[in-house]
Structures are given as structure tokens and as C-alpha cells.
């Protein structure tokens, strides 16, 4: 086994020079694909994710259609070249679970009752994985839904809080996830103040959990503001034209 690297340096900064409460550099673009009804590309540091939305559209196969609401389908998937060892393109148990938790988070904000007998299909492809792929994917999917013009109660910003070398840190990367003690991804809808996705993989005391939720909310709010700005920048320009 490889020796555990230093995650919190003597100066209190993290292995990549970030402060414990600092996000990675985040980039967002919307409307990047021609065919999809809505799309987004999001980077959290070296993690790169593209999301696309098709719909509301006719459901295939038809018997899956729901009489009183839209059917929401979601696939989180990692490209074979996204990881250091090639990942088999077949869906893993992890990807099946994450597709479920991301779908459930988005179900909570989409006004699905406005589109009975249709489907809204959400596809998330991780192009490069460096930690935080489900939260980056959730942010990207939320932007793609907004880009597709689907009515929603709020946007969801995803971010993970981790515990590394005993310190709670925001937006952990792959190294911190691998050698850290805990990883807690959340999806936060900042305007309506609700947590839509919450998982914890690791060990925390009650006190640490409380601080981790506060840290995650602060980080998610920053990402949320950037999401709104990204959408404004694109659509205000169109309106001005």
C-alpha cells in the first residue's frame, strides 16, 4: 500500500494549497450541446462533468407513462477514460445508486405534475473524475434542467464536505476522499433552504456533523450564486438582443 500523503500541511492549508473552507476553482457553461433541450458543462477543479436534458417528451416504452405527472429518468455515468484505471463502461453498483440519489434530489424541485404522460430524461457523463463527481453532476444536471426551461422550485447546488487528518474541509478532491476519514456530499437548494441530497460515507461525531452541515451550506451557497450568474449571463444577453 502507498504511504498516506500529508493532507493538512503544517501551515494549516490543504495538500493543494486551499484553505479548509475554500472551494476548488469552479467553471460553468450552459447550452453547450445542439441536440439536447438543455445542457451544461461544469468543472470543480479537475473534475469535469457534462449533463444533458431531453424533454418533456413522449415516453418510450409507452406503458411507463404516468397519468398525473412526468416520469423522470436519470443516469449518472462515468466515461471509461475518466479515472486513472480504465472504468468498464457497464453501469457499476455505485453508478446505479448515485443515479437514484441524484434523481430523487431533482424530483424534489421539478414541477413534474405540469407534464403528465411525458418523460424528462437527465443524462450525466463524468468526463474526468477527481472527487466530488456526484455533486458536480447534480449541479450540472440542475443547470441543464434550467437551460431546458423546465419549471423548478429552485436550483440545487452540490458540494461535499470531508474530514481529513481530523479537519473538516470543503469540496474534497480525490486524494482527500481516498485518504480522508469522511465524505459527506450534499445537494442544497439555497433559496428555499432545503437539503435535497444527503449522504455520509465515514465516521463523524454529532458535533462534527453539525459543523459539516454549516460548512456545506456556505460552500453550496457560493456555487448556487455562480449557477444563477451563469444562467443570467446567457439568458439576459439573449433578451437584450
Amino acid at each position: 500500500m502507498i504511504e498516506k500523503p500529508v493532507l493538512i500541511r503544517d501551515d494549516g492549508l490543504r495538500h493543494d494549497g486551499r484553505r479548509p473552507d475554500e472551494l476548488r476553482p469552479i467553471k460553468m457553461q450552459v447550452g453547450i450541446l445542439k441536440n439536447a433541450d438543455g445542457s451544461a458543462y461544469v468543472e470543480y477543479g479537475k473534475t469535469k462533468v457534462v449533463a444533458a436534458v431531453y424533454g418533456p417528451r413522449e415516453v418510450h416504452p409507452r406503458h411507463l407513462a404516468l397519468p398525473d405527472r412526468a416520469l423522470i429518468r436519470c443516469r449518472y455515468h462515468m466515461a471509461p477514460f475518466s479515472t486513472s484505471d480504465r472504468k468498464s463502461p457497464a453501469p457499476s453498483r455505485r453508478e446505479i445508486e448515485l443515479s437514484k440519489v441524484i434523481r430523487e434530489a431533482l424530483e424534489a424541485v421539478i414541477f413534474s405534475e405540469l407534464f403528465p404522460r411525458t418523460s424528462i430524461d437527465i443524462f450525466i457523463e463524468v468526463l474526468q473524475a477527481d472527487g466530488g463527481t456526484r455533486t458536480t453532476g447534480l449541479t450540472a444536471a440542475s443547470l441543464a434542467l434550467a437551460d431546458a426551461g423546465i419549471p423548478m422550485r429552485d436550483l440545487i447546488a452540490g458540494v461535499a464536505v470531508g474530514k481529513v487528518d481530523g479537519v473538516l474541509v470543503l469540496d474534497i478532491d480525490e486524494l482527500e476522499d481516498e485518504y480522508g476519514e469522511a465524505d459527506m456530499p450534499i445537494g442544497y437548494a439555497a433559496s428555499i433552504d432545503e437539503i435535497m441530497l444527503l449522504q455520509l460515507n465515514g465516521v463523524l461525531t454529532l458535533e462534527e456533523f453539525r459543523r459539516a452541515i454549516e460548512l456545506a451550506k456556505e460552500g453550496a451557497r457560493k456555487i448556487y450564486d455562480q449557477m444563477k450568474k451563469t444562467l443570467h449571463d446567457k439568458y439576459l444577453k439573449i433578451i437584450e438582443k
Binding site: 443515479s99 437514484k100 440519489v101 424534489a108 432545503e194 441530497l197 465516521v203 451550506k217
Partner: protein, 287 residues
């Protein structure tokens, strides 16, 4: 691909409204208090051919777990540890909405939540399962078998898993020749090394009201459900939110407090059962 569930059990609207209004007035449709578990019945080693097994009934939810031990090779990045694998099967006899086939997302989620709650606090001493470092280790297969589905499958699965692992005995190694390990399955040498016990407490939320151990009918009306893993030291060892509505962050404190409090009940059940195992190895009476 994950789809909006379409095969929900059909419950008349009037009954749904009754379940909801009862929860909001601090009552339950089966007469329980909001923070009360259903009756828990336990059988140890119902399947003696497995290295360990347990059957747990949580109300009408019935889960059998079997632990099998085999010799295998360790993961290349963890040459000095045995291997733990948790799987769950929601077999079609357990519910009219289950179908044959590979595990669906709910079964996979249940297995992965149980797996994480065991792995993160190092509930099993995997380092004590090495036979030849880097080459031969014990593989622990923990298979969760849902036999009757009446809600809160994860808490029942975690409890039966923990008991099954505690009952598991490692077979005797007869000889080791050039990386070839011969075992005698009928002779059990030592118990599976357990560091600490873990339980999960699932809390259902409906418009801010919290209930413990929801039945299937209650689950269909809940906004969301949060599963909290707690070890015997009172640490949080895993969380999974499932369900299609959000939760107010301000409610998380109360929710975790309740989970920690209720976890002590489950831990004391585990202690009581493991202190008197003979009282729980009676023939199966499932009625």
C-alpha cells in the same frame, strides 16, 4: 438508469389521508408512538450450512442474512486485509412489486448503505483475515435476503447482518502448501473478528413530523426518509437520505438526536441476544 417509481403499492386515498393525519397528531396507524419500533424477533443461525446466519423480523418485515467465508485473493491495493462484500436480494416472493432479475436500485442502495456502515468504522477486523499476505485472504460474503417487505428494510437488514457476522465462525485451515490453502469447512476454528457493532435507525419525515421505523404503508406517504448508521460508541458512521422531497437543515439536529437515542435500544437488543445466544437458536416459527 433510475426511474420515478411506477409500481408503488396502491393505497386508497382515504387511507393515505388517515395515515398522514395520524402522524401529524402524534399517532400511528398501527397504534405505535412516533418514536417506537415495531416488535423485533430474532433467530440465530437458522441456516447452519452458512458460516453465520440470522433472521430478523421487524414487525412483518422479514430479513434473513447469511455469511459465507471463502478463500480468495485480496485487492491489490489492500494486500494485508480480507475482503468484505455485502449484497442484498429483494426476491419476488417478498412483495407483489418485486420481480425476478438482478438487484434493482433499491436492493443495491440497501446493500451499499449496510456495506458503508460496516466498512467506515472498521466493524470487522479485516486485517485479521489474512492467510498469506498479498496472496490468500478470507473473503466474507454477507448476503441479505428480504423475505417479506413491510417497510424499513435497511434497519432490519443491518440488524440481521450484524447478528449474522457475530455468529460467523471461520473454518479450520488444514494445510498451506505453495499458496494452496486447504480448509475443512465442517470444523469451525474461531469467530469472525468483530471490532464493534453498528445499527441503523431510519427516520421518516412528513411535513416536519418524524417517525421511527416506518411501515410500507407509511413509507408511501412520507416526504423522505433518512437512514442514520450509529456504532456502539455513539458515533455517526453513515447517512443516506432517500425519498423525493427535501429536508430543512434546521431539522437535522433533532433528527440526528432522535437517531442516536433510538440506536441505543437496538444496540442493547444486540448485546442481550449475543449474551444469551442459546435463547435465540430455537426452531424457526415465522408466524
Amino acid at each position: 438508469m433510475s426511474l420515478t417509481p411506477t409500481k408503488q403499492p396502491i393505497i386508497p386515498r382515504i387511507k393515505r389521508e388517515t395515515i398522514k393525519s395520524l402522524i401529524k397528531s402524534g399517532e400511528r396507524i398501527d397504534g405505535r408512538k412516533p418514536e417506537e419500533f415495531r416488535k423485533i424477533s430474532i433467530w440465530l443461525n437458522p441456516v447452519p450450512k452458512a458460516e453465520g446466519s440470522a433472521l430478523v423480523k421487524l414487525g412483518d418485515t422479514t430479513v434473513m442474512t447469511g455469511t459465507k467465508l471463502e478463500i480468495g485473493t485480496p485487492f491489490s491495493d489492500r494486500p494485508d486485509e480480507g475482503v468484505l462484500q455485502v449484497h442484498a436480494e429483494f426476491v419476488p416472493l417478498a412483495s407483489p412489486s418485486f420481480e425476478p432479475g438482478p438487484p434493482d436500485e433499491n436492493a443495491i442502495e440497501a446493500a451499499r448503505v449496510v456495506d458503508r456502515c460496516l466498512r467506515e468504522p472498521r466493524a470487522i477486523r479485516l486485517e485479521d483475515l489474512v492467510i498469506i499476505p498479498g496472496k490468500k485472504v478470507w473473503l466474507v460474503f454477507n448476503d441479505i435476503y428480504l423475505l417479506d417487505h413491510d417497510g424499513n428494510v435497511i434497519d432490519a437488514s443491518m440488524l440481521s447482518t450484524m447478528l449474522s457476522l457475530n455468529m460467523a465462525k471461520i473454518p479450520k485451515i488444514v494445510s498451506i502448501e505453495d499458496d494452496n490453502v486447504i480448509i475443512e469447512k465442517t470444523v469451525k476454528e474461531r469467530p469472525l473478528p468483530i471490532n464493534l457493532n453498528v445499527v441503523t435507525v431510519s427516520i421518516g419525515l412528513l411535513e416536519g413530523y418524524m417517525i421511527v421505523d416506518p411501515t410500507l404503508e407509511e413509507e408511501t406517504v412520507l416526504d423522505t426518509k433518512i437512514v442514520v448508521g450509529v456504532d456502539e460508541k455513539g458515533r455517526i458512521v453513515g447517512i443516506q437520505k432517500t425519498g423525493m422531497e427535501g429536508i430543512k437543515p434546521s431539522q437535522l439536529d433533532d433528527l440526528i438526536d432522535l437517531a442516536l437515542k433510538k440506536s441505543q435500544e437496538l444496540h442493547s437488543i444486540i448485546r442481550e441476544v449475543l449474551n444469551n445466544p442459546n435463547a435465540y437458536t430455537t426452531p424457526l416459527v415465522l408466524q
